[in-house]
Amino acid sequence: MVLPALSVPADAQPPPRPELLAVRGVSLRFGGLAVLSTVDLTVRAGEIHGLVGPNGAGKTSLFNCISGLYRPQAGSINLDGADLLRCPPHRLAGLGLARTFQHPILDQHTSVLENVLTGTYTCQDSAAVGRVFHPRSALREKDRRRQKARALLAYSGLIDVEDQSPGTLPHAEQKRVELVRALLAEPKLLLLDEPAGGLVHSEVDELGELIRRIRDDHGVTVLLVEHHMGLISSITDHVHVLAEGRNVTAGTAAEVQRHPAVIESYLGSAP
């Protein structure tokens, strides 16, 4: 295996939790542009894992590789033992992967509730065959899903706007709608791309609290890209730093913030 450019501090202790996501040696190029170069990333089950790095570091590109939207030229990506690079992108949701986008993608022509219900798409396969033969149980299943969606909307403080068009909501709430849609897919791993982007201070705190509760109450592992270091420090167990498509360092939030390369790229370049 190729070693990362700047070595990651080796873990002396045996791994406390099993690996859920293993990204190994992933390289992605667009023509002559190397967007990712032998990136390694390990996310353990039950963690909240931060992915940080300056603009253009390749964080979203890495997310796109994990969620099957980009095909890296080299490397492997495993989720709970399944080789993601061998799966067609639409299968990944069924394997337990869900994500949100840097800019919320919601259908403005339907309600918030209908939008989040889309997230249950993969949970319904079991009922599909039975529906013809057991219409009543299919109906109950449908009710159950709707209830679950409404419960999650209530959980994230969106129940009052469930009938509204997402376009009428403030940015912070739109981001939460996307979060609920992703959660309804019952993922093992949730990828959040800049969930705090464009949020004001108090909203960031609320969001951090929500992400933590999601992990604790639903047992979902979270990998989040975030520029907001306050949020990263307060909720992550582990942070991975990426710059110019390469691994820089990894560790706890406090550890990586002491890393010279991080100090340089974050503080050294500050105007």
Partner: protein
């Protein structure tokens, strides 16, 4: 705008009552009216099926197609030719549905691999191929003359005139097909299509097999086009290369937008628009017919961007408010609710790479966030 969406727009009882009354009127009507009027209503039903197919594709799945006329034409020719060869009507119908559906699926295979308006581009070429083909194969299709076919005569036991018989048959079949289309886009499938329309990237990460959906919807829309062609020939008993024309495809798309996207009632309104408006316009001034037609189209798009069905829904939703306004003062102009605005091509363009737009807000600059 505080638009509430899930609230049933028109109460259940009102809907049922409206359907029952409409059915009663439709059943009695052909006994009272002229063969010409019966034919017009029958044509509305046939075109409503064609447009409902287009609505599945363009309204729900957000794929613009300019080639619906080609599938209509394939269905119409299939019906005419098989009827000439003495096929049973049911088999003619089955083939008039299945043949265009198969052609649609084949066309969709390359198209669904490309995002955006690849499908529209490919569908433009369909009539360009189909029209000369229909003219060339004159042994089969009757060439530019078209084809007259023996179909849709009333059986003696029915005691009906031909126009009345065709009316009942076409309206029944059309109602069944419209109901099927209406049910098909509810619930899970409808939500999957909405997300595909919004963003294929978001859809695929939600686990929706986007290509398969697009292919099935395109095949289904084409099948509906063909079924509409069958119904058309069933009452008109004639088909010519004009039925395949490119302009027809564009007119159908315009009618759909005028009637209202993503609405079953909208497809029927669109068919009325398609059948009646050119007649009305021709009555006013045949010389300027296309000008008046275009003006009507423009007016609807300007003042009811969600189409006529969408505007009616909006009016119903705000009927109390409107009633109060009417009672107190001069009625305010009715602006349609914003979220119902016609989905143009703008909404899908933004997020095709999952948030990789290079422009960023300064607020999330990392250097400003580190303490």
């Amino acid at each position: 705008m505080n638009a509430r969406i899930r609230q049933p727009t028109v109460p259940w009882l009102v809907r049922v009552a409206a359907v029952v009354v409409a059915l009663a009127v439709l059943v009695i009507l052909p006994q009272q009216s002229t063969p010409y009027d019966n034919l017009q209503i029958t044509l509305v039903a046939a075109w409503a099926v064609v447009i409902a197919g287009l609505n599945l594709l363009t309204g729900y799945a957000g794929q613009i197609s300019l080639g619906q006329a080609a599938f209509f034409g394939i269905g119409a020719y299939t019906t005419a030719i098989t009827a000439l060869h003495g096929w049973p009507v049911v088999l003619s119908f089955a083939l008039a549905f299945l043949l265009p559906a198969t052609v649609g699926a084949l066309v969709a295979i390359p198209a669904v691999r490309l995002r955006g308006h690849a499908l529209a581009m490919i569908t433009i070429s369909l009539p360009l191929v189909a029209v000369p083909l229909a003219k060339r194969l004159d042994g089969l299709t009757g060439g530019s003359q078209g084809l007259t076919t023996p179909i849709g005569s009333a059986p003696t036991w029915s005691g009906l005139a031909d126009d009345q018989w065709a009316y009942y048959v076409v309206l029944t079949v059309a109602a069944a097909l419209l109901a099927l289309a209406h049910v098909a886009v509810r619930g899970r499938t409808g939500r999957a299509l909405s997300l595909i329309r919004t963003s294929e990237v978001a859809a695929v990460t939600t686990g929706i097999p986007v290509r398969r959906y697009k292919m099935v919807v395109f095949a289904l829309a084409s099948g509906y086009g063909g079924a509409g062609g069958f119904l058309y020939v069933y009452c008109v008993r004639f088909v010519s290369p004009e039925s395949l024309d490119f302009l027809l495809g564009i007119t159908l798309l315009c009618s759909l937008v005028v009637g209202g996207l993503r609405s079953s009632a909208g497809s029927v309104v669109a068919a009325c628009f398609y059948v009646y408006v050119p007649n009305l316009v021709g009555d006013i001034n045949p010389e300027k017919s296309s000008l008046i037609y275009g003006a009507v189209l423009l007016l609807v798009l300007l003042f009811a961007p969600a189409g006529i069905a969408g505007a009616a829904r909006g009016l119903w939703r705000r009927r109390k408010l409107l009633a109060r306004k009417l009672a107190t003062s001069w009625p305010a102009p009715s602006t349609p609710t914003g979220y119902l605005a016609v989905a143009g091509s703008t909404e899908t363009s933004q997020e095709e790479n999952g948030g990789l737009t290079p422009t960023r807000s300064t607020a999330s600059n990392p250097s400003s966030k580190t303490r």
